[in-house]
């Protein structure tokens, strides 16, 4: 495998997957489990081994962001997060003032826990609020109420967190436009720093999909969901929040740096079962099963140094890794566009040229012309961006680049 140092920059994002939940939400198809809490201590040991392994072998990269996702990372008992973070600091090069985010469930949080989280160095919280309507929260199978969410947010502020994101969902069964507007307005009122607004996707095999298929709950109206998205745009237009990605808004300077790594198609290592990685132009993922993950990481020797290897060997010999795919240049271009067009900054001719040594207007001449023709994309002084309509039909645009 050849690595062109000019096109890969040397920063890295770390994702750490915590596959534990007290209860599993009916719409969720993530790699997460309830009832396997007894695995937690072994799991933390395993993840520390994985950190050791990648820290050694990726020591040419420096870490800019760390993200604890799940599952429910806030569900981990105290002490474990600290141990994981210490291990990261021990084995990776960390840039100054990294962004460290943890996803939280509003009712796992109390003042003590928040103080503890602060102390570990975590500086960004992402609350999975999903809705501020209690009926909808019940449909979503969430353990918290809207009041729990508001309280948790207030306590987080008290504890000194000044970068807090709230996740909300629209396009829910039985959700009305008014309910959605109310939720958004209430959210703006409490003044979070960042908002992620996602349309519910009914994933095959989830209990919610089954309930809808068997007509126990009504199927969400996708036209209404489009209205909700448009409404959210309008509501947020005259606020302090800037839309910087199709589904994300933030106060100036408080974008999610971690997610920007994905959208800018840069390098990240995803640790924990089911974690996805993209380093050295290679995509791969860990096996999903937490038990298998723990078992296979027993092979990592804590006293060994794993740094004197070629990147391809590093990936191939990691016992938890599967689905290794080398991303050749043409595919990397397509992926860069698919991800980059999600951002309001778009894709500039210059950055594309810098990364690939080719003109985006030459490589994708027809695709660009078609998308612009349909009013889905504009060329703003050499930078390609989706229009408002393009945001609603982003798929139609992305498809043209594959």
């Amino acid at each position: 495998m050849m690595i062109n140092p000019e096109i890969q920059d040397d920063s890295l994002s770390i994702y750490i997957h915590i596959p534990f939940c007290q209860t599993k939400c009916p719409y969720c198809d993530f790699n997460t489990y309830s009832g396997i809490e007894s695995l937690i201590p072994d799991y933390v040991k395993a993840i520390n081994s994985e950190i050791h392994y990648w820290g050694d072998s990726l020591n040419d990269l420096s870490v800019r962001t760390i993200f604890f996702g799940g599952g429910t990372p806030s569900y981990l008992p105290e002490g474990h997060l600290e141990s994981i973070l210490n291990q990261v600091y021990k084995f990776f090069q960390i840039e100054s003032a990294p962004e460290i985010t943890i996803e939280c469930n509003p009712n796992d949080i109390d003042t003590d826990k928040l103080t503890y989280l602060r102390k570990t160095g975590i500086n960004r919280l992402s609350f999975g609020v999903q809705s501020l309507d209690d009926n909808l929260l019940t449909i979503l199978g969430r353990r918290h109420s809207s009041e729990d969410a508001l309280t948790a947010f207030a306590k987080a502020r008290e504890a000194g967190f000044n970068n807090i994101s709230l996740d909300f969902m629209y396009g829910l069964p039985r959700q009305t436009l008014t309910q959605w507007e109310d939720t958004l307005n209430q959210a703006i009122e409490i003044n979070p720093d960042h908002l992620s607004l996602y349309c519910l996707t009914l994933e095959p095999g989830t209990p919610m999909k089954k309930s809808i298929d068997s007509a126990n709950i009504p199927s969400p109206d996708q036209d209404l969901a489009a209205d909700m998205y448009t409404t959210a745009n309008k509501i947020l237009e005259n606020t302090v929040y800037d839309q910087y990605e199709i589904s994300n808004w933030s106060k100036p300077g408080l974008n999610s740096l971690h997610n920007l790594t994905y959208w800018r198609n840069k390098q990240y290592i995803g640790m924990g079962p089911g974690g996805h990685s993209y380093v050295h132009k290679t995509r791969f993922n860990n096996i999903n099963s937490p038990r298998q993950y723990i078992k296979r990481l027993n092979h990592i020797d804590p006293n060994k140094n794993y740094n004197k290897r070629l990147p391809s060997q590093t990936i191939n010999t990691m016992p938890t890794v599967e689905n290794i795919e080398y991303i050749e240049s043409k595919l990397e271009m397509s992926e860069t566009i698919m991800l980059g067009l999600r951002l309001s900054e778009g894709i500039s001719e210059e950055s594309f040229n810098h990364r690939f040594g080719l003109s985006i207007h030459e490589v994708f001449k027809e695709s660009i012309a078609e998308a612009i023709d349909l009013g889905l994309m504009i060329n703003e002084n050499g930078t390609l961006k989706l229009t408002d309509k393009g945001n609603l039909f982003s798929n139609e645009v992305f498809l043209k680049f594959f």
């Binding site: 994933e203 969901a225 089911g274 795919e325 349909l374 798929n395 139609e396 992305f398």
Partner: protein
């Protein structure tokens, strides 16, 4: 071998009455195929034939059987079982002296049984009636035997009872074949061989399946096709045992194959007589009626780039399927493709499946049409097999459509149901005949259980679509049907056009009866509304006759098309979803700026449901 030790025969049967199983059992009992090598229904070699459980192309196999110290050569020429392939039955029969008529002991005489028996009688053949599946609990051999006696005048003693499945009665049948079927007769010394089928082999060229009536032939002889005048040096002669096996000579009375080395099946037409260049016969055998395709449809590659692949595939397929005809056609909606003629809908489906399966093509097939006869105002009479080729209304004096003679066999209690369906399909009643005289049959307590033959005349275009499915469903599967072309008849027909987003889609046009046009236009438009996915803009769908819009629906604009959030950096999953969507788009056809899925082009097939 002397011709008096040769017996040539076919097996004729209604579909599913056990023809192929019986053939298998004959092969096994005569030791032609050891039971160890016996794969079920060995005569059906094509993968597609196996899957569908039907015989598409006839085959021939040579068996040896010892009877009272003498060795007999038994040549079985297999016949296809589906009505679409009726012509193949006729071809096979012309090569034989006798036919085994197989009737299912649980079902009795069916429409194809009648058709096949009449065909065999036309050929003046010896018919051996066989009641099959007597091992089944629900079998009614006595009743079916009675039916055979009454319908065709067989005697009780003539009828043989077998179970092809467990082998009982097969020895009796073999004895009957030898005793009753006359040996081949020869008249001349010059070679006369009837080509009853052919296929194309990349190494041996066209391989003719032949029945020798006179003379003999061996490898190296120079052959002459009497109708086409083609000449060739024979590369190989042989028999089917059942695999093609080379032999030194084929003699009068025998059935076998001749590898001609010819590159084109048209040079060695089925039905032609093969003779020798240096000692030619002057009297060709009676041939066959040339095949006339009855159903026409446009075949288009989903991906326009595959046009040449499709052309090559059709060329190759035609080498083995003389019934398939095609010519290039261009559609504004679908691009470059071919207008193909088929024997019937099943034939069409099979061709489509073979093209997709054997050549990896992704095909779009337009609504099937029949061939109309159109008299223009200038007196010229033209044939029109595609709505696109229909002249403008003001230039047409008269249109005629092909009419079928339709035979349906059904339990009497379903007469009403059949009448309903046929009337809705513009059919006319001709006659009705009870297959069984109940007064003679005390074993049948309820007269409604007796079965009737109903004969109708009906337009082919109406029968084509979903008549058979309706017939089967309304009669709980009891009805069977057979048809043949009766003639042409004038009818008030109009061209129904479909406009999607105000653009006519030529591939969706139909020729329909005037009285049905309104209803069909409405149904089609409604159906298309549900089949065409919502686009980024509103799309009107209209049905029109000439300039007059008779029906309209609107497909509302799609509001969004986005992918779910990408979680935890799983970009691959997202990309795969996109790739899948892109693949789906590939299977659609763009008409103007509207993407129309394949299913929309098939909507017309189910117009009457």
């Amino acid at each position: 071998m002397k011709t008096d030790h040769i017996r040539n025969f076919s097996i004729i049967a209604h579909i599913d009455h056990g023809k192929s199983t019986l053939a298998d059992r004959l092969l096994e009992i005569t030791g032609t195929v050891s039971s160890r090598d016996m794969t079920e229904q060995i005569m059906d070699q094509m993968e597609l034939e196996r899957e569908r459980g039907i015989t598409i192309k006839g085959k021939a196999v040579k068996m040896s059987y010892n009877k009272q110290g003498s060795r007999f050569q038994l040549n079985l020429i297999d016949t296809p079982g589906h009505v679409d392939f009726g012509y193949e039955v006729s071809r096979a029969l012309a090569a034989c002296e006798g036919a085994i008529l197989v009737v299912d002991a649980t079902q009795g005489i069916q429409a194809q049984t009648l058709a096949n028996v009449y065909l065999a009688m036309e050929h003046d053949m010896t018919i051996i009636p066989v009641v099959n599946k007597i091992d089944l609990q629900v079998a009614q051999p006595a009743r079916v035997s009675l039916e055979l006696q009454q319908a065709f005048g067989f005697t009780d003693e003539e009828i043989i009872f077998v179970s092809a499945k467990d082998g009982s009665g097969i020895e009796d049948l073999l004895a009957a074949i030898i005793e009753r079927i006359p040996p081949p007769k020869t008249e001349y010394n010059e070679l006369r061989a009837l080509v009853f089928d052919s296929n194309y082999d990349p190494y041996k060229g066209v391989v003719a399946y032949v029945r020798l009536f006179d003379g003999h032939i061996e490898k190296g002889s120079q052959m002459l096709m009497m109708a086409t005048g083609s000449k060739a040096d024979i590369l190989e002669v042989g028999n089917f045992l059942p695999r093609p096996t080379q032999t030194s000579v084929l003699a009068a009375g025998e059935v076998g194959y001749i590898a001609t080395g010819l590159k084109n099946v048209r040079e060695c037409r089925v039905g032609d007589t093969l003779t020798l260049t240096n000692n030619p016969s002057t009297k060709p055998l009676p041939g066959y009626q040339p095949l006339k395709p009855m159903v026409f449809a446009g075949l288009y590659p989903s991906d326009g780039d595959e046009y040449l692949v499709l052309r090559t595939a059709l060329e190759k397929l035609q080498l083995n399927d003389a019934a398939l005809v095609y010519e290039p056609e261009t559609s504004a909606a679908l691009g470059f493709g071919f207008r193909c003629g088929f024997l019937g809908l099943l034939h069409m489906e099979i061709v489509q499946e073979r093209l997709e399966r054997e050549y990896g093509l992704n095909l779009l097939i337009t609504a099937p049409s029949v061939r109309y006869s159109v008299t223009k105002t200038d007196g010229e009479e033209i044939e029109v097999d595609s709505p696109a080729k229909l002249p403008p209304t003001h230039l047409i004096t008269e249109m005629k459509e092909p009419i079928l003679s339709l035979n349906i066999v059904v339990p009497a209690k379903f007469i009403g149901a059949v009448m309903d369906i046929v009337t809705a399909k513009r059919g006319e009643f001709v006659r009705m005949e009870y297959l069984q005289n109940n007064t003679l049959d005390e074993s049948v307590p309820d007269s409604s259980e007796s079965r009737v033959l109903l004969e109708y005349r009906a337009p082919l275009s109406e029968i084509l679509m979903d008549f058979y499915d309706q017939l089967k469903s309304r009669t709980h599967g009891y009805a069977s049907m057979d048809y043949s072309i009766f003639g042409y008849k004038a009818a008030p027909l109009v061209k129904l056009d479909i406009l999607v987003n105000n653009q006519p889609v030529d591939a969706l046009s139909l020729i329909v009866h005037k009285e049905k046009s309104l209803q069909q236009g409405k149904t089609l438009v409604e159906r298309l509304k549900n089949l065409i996915p919502r686009q980024m803009f509103e799309v009107p769908v209209q049905a029109a006759i000439g300039n007059r819009v008779i029906s309209r629906e609107t497909i509302r604009a799609l509001r969004k098309n986005v992918l779910a959030k990408c979680y935890g950096g799983d970009i691959t999953r997202k990309r795969k979803l996109l790739e899948k969507q892109a693949e789906g788009k590939k299977r659609m056809k763009r008409v103007g700026n509207v993407e129309i899925p394949q299913e929309a082009f098939l909507a017309i097939l189910q117009l009457d449901r």
